[in-house]
Symmetry: C2
Subunit: 475 residues, 2 copies
């Protein structure tokens, strides 16, 4: 568009058309905003024509947005039928800032009941399915975004993540998903049951089809200095950093979190990636996970400290049936509301765990961690229960990206391990879900993790690592 070879109207129209077709395939949209998107595009074109300049780094870029991010004057229900009449009073801050950078919002996207599934189904819009295989879920909770980006219905997507909700759908749909450190991106104007809960913070962050796009999104957003309006944010500009070189970094590999075994395709992808990374000159070492059970005990108690009363009340008010995955999510909470003082104890445990994990990375000389994004390449519809390969980094508040390896599930290569021995009932339940044919052709993602507040570094590491892993000459 800056070269004048494409107009914003052409670009937005193309993505709108693709989004309409895509929606018919996977049911990912909750609302199209055709007149508004085209009007914004016309305005951008007029501006470019008059000045010869782009409005900003996102001039004319069509972005899809998860439904619970509020648009002024539009319904915002966060997946609850009880909130079906709720109208957002103003645009979420992230929308205002990205619009100033030239972005165009053309479609809003689906999310699951309760926001706590790695799946994407609710009583209002039904079920979104995976663009690679309609028997699989696109993941969740930003499942509509996973489908939108996976199907190229938008150039960039905006999701939210408190346990993997950006990274899991990116992983399941063959896209890139960033979870920033908390308090970097502007969160104001997102509707979530239990707002004000700060022990484990939800972050808002992009899904994209390249690392370059992730970086562009973050740069454009933080150049607007959102902390000038949302004062709880940390005033850290998005640093421009040099591309990383292989000899500069050490990567620790978590093959298995020692709680639930990854499925064969994920282990194959890890082996494939590690071999290529080593060949490139990156120092790669095994990294024994540090007590992910402790991380789970803390985060599972913090997700619903009121024993999910807030959520149950809303579901009852809406008169909607409670989905299996909703009950499952609630079942991780303690059965009775915890007290404020118990919440403090969990905060102390959380900080001690964070400090200890960070110290261990330093002691072992590891800059980044490479690990599964999920136990498998994806989950079948309504079946995804274990998401601690992503939520571990939420409790640790470490920035991370899921990225496609370029590999796909191949039932001939990814055979069930006959030597497999269950560690626990939960491990067996999860391993039994691996029936190779069901996942044939599903893209296999991995996850790369950085240190607290080193968001720019994790994006740079993903640039380096994903290029090496995806390079067409296979190991």
């Amino acid at each position: 568009m800056g070269a004048g070879s494409l107009t914003a109207v052409e670009t937005v129209t193309a993505f709108l058309k693709r989004a309409h077709v895509g929606h018919q395939l996977v049911n990912f949209a909750t609302e199209f905003m055709v007149p508004e998107a085209l009007a914004a595009a016309r305005e951008l074109d007029a501006c470019f024509k008059a000045t010869g300049k782009l409005v900003g780094p996102l001039h004319g870029i069509p972005i899809s947005v998860k439904e619970h991010v509020g648009f002024k004057g539009r319904i915002c229900h966060s997946g609850y039928t009880a909130w079906i009449d709720n109208v957002a009073k103003e645009d979420a801050l992230i929308l205002r800032l990205l619009r100033q950078a030239g972005a165009v919002f053309h479609v809003r996207t689906n999310e699951p009941q309760s926001m706590m599934h790695i799946d994407c189904s609710n009583c209002i819009y039904g079920t979104t399915v995976n663009p690679h295989n309609r028997n699989l879920t696109p993941g969740g909770s930003s499942g509509g975004e996973g489908a939108s980006i996976g199907l190229r219905c938008a150039a960039l997507g905006i999701g939210t993540d408190i346990g993997g909700s950006v990274r899991v759908p990116a992983a399941f749909c063959g896209a890139y998903g960033l979870r920033t450190t908390a308090l970097r991106n502007p969160y104001k104007g997102v509707l979530l049951a239990g707002t004000g809960q700060e022990s484990i913070r939800c972050v808002i962050s992009p899904l994209a089809n390249s690392v370059r796009d992730i970086n562009l999104f973050q740069q454009a957003l933080l150049d607007k200095e959102p902390w000038g309006e949302e004062t709880s944010l940390v005033p850290l500009p998005w640093k421009k950093i040099e591309a990383l070189q292989p000899h500069q970094i050490t990567i620790g590999v978590i093959w298995d979190d020692e709680l639930i075994h990854p499925h064969p395709p994920v282990l194959r992808a890890l082996e494939y990636a590690v071999a290529k990374l080593r060949r490139s000159g990156i120092k790669v070492v095994d990294f024994a996970p540090f007590d992910h059970q402790e991380g789970w005990e803390i985060i599972s108690a913090l997700y619903f400290p009121d024993a999910a009363k807030t959520q149950r009340d809303l579901l009852a008010q809406g008169g909607e049936p409670i989905a299996f995955l909703t009950e499952w999510a609630f079942s991780v909470a303690r059965p009775e509301p915890i007290s404020v003082a118990e919440n403090w104890e969990l905060n102390v445990r959380r900080d001690a765990y964070r400090d200890a994990y960070h110290q261990i990375m330093k002691d072992r000389g590891v800059d980044f961690i490479l690990c599964p994004a999920y136990i498998g390449a994806a989950a079948t519809l309504g079946s995804g229960q274990y998401f601690h390969y992503t939520s571990i980094w939420n409790i640790l508040d470490q920035p991370c990206v899921t990225f496609p390896t370029g590999l796909k599930v191949d039932p001939k290569l990814d055979i069930v391990d006959e030597q497999y021995k269950p560690r626990s009932k939960a491990d067996k339940r999860e391993y039994d879900k691996y029936i190779p044919e069901r996942f044939a052709g599903a893209p296999i993602a991995l996850q790369i993790v950085g240190k607290h507040f080193q968001d720019e570094e994790i994006v740079a590491a993903t640039e380096l690592v994903s290029k090496i892993v995806q390079a067409s000459i296979q190991s």
Copy 2:
């Protein structure tokens, strides 16, 4: 010491002697650490002799430390008799980092029961009094620090502040007290009842006898990158900024918080300061306070969300009588423990209030706010109850400094206002405390406040403003 004209041993010895004399006058110390301080000084001298270099920017500087900041192997009781046998397992992070910068810790200092008085008395060490007038309190809760710095028993002091606990003692004792934005200075290793409470965060920060010293402390501390160990901290280095010039800034003046009237000495100091600041070329405008009652309602509910059960249990366990000011502090809490969900609502109100206050400062074009540090120059022993001239900036999480104006209470000038009309019972209660003769000669402080995370800017503003206000040619 860098010039070789003084040794660390000479310096530390001099301050140790002064601290011992000072303690006999005002009872501010909880523990002297003579052998350890002298050993550290000898080591610094040996190092300087061998290398010709200072160990760091705080080489040989004697620093006093509030008692609840843990020293490895030493009792740490936080003012509670119940904790009289508690031994700290390691040095607080701030001590370790400052020691690396060359600091020597020679004396630990007193604090009040419950840590929530702007006074300084507990059942273990008794009452610390004000170095300017022993009928007055040195303030609190870092009252021992106020006395230590006010009496020049240390070159720098370390206090903590969740409602004014650094700034009030600095103000009452004629010193400078900084409250940083939360999560800048390392807090790990501070013992406080109710650890893990994050809705309103306690900060640890310096008291000093000059702005230069405050800046030195902050620079030395943050140059050590404490966020590498305490991961909850924000990784913001202490910026070196240019000295501010009068024409660059606009100061808004809060004369009165519209809840409780300041006493005549404080109003005289404000008038005096405003006249001098205007004459210097600084733009000074009146600033109507924005709903400080809202700030009070939020913070008073957040101080003791468990209805002070944590504190009451500790007091009962220690079998100690509950002081009037302790009951007073607890009385601001809601009578029943709030639920986790109610805590969330308060967090949301807090953030909305912060964002709105920040927006108002921007809308009015005000860079800094000048306001009282307290209703009066000081409080008589056991009588200080109203501390919302400082706690308002805790709930807003804005950085601020209290500084001496150079003025002292003069009963001839600071007469009771015959026109005074009480706004409320509380206002009358506080105004009636002003009996001019009781405060004769007490130093009068003011407070200057900056924007969230602009800690360096507020220190630079204090440098400019305090110099202008203290300049010997009076208006």
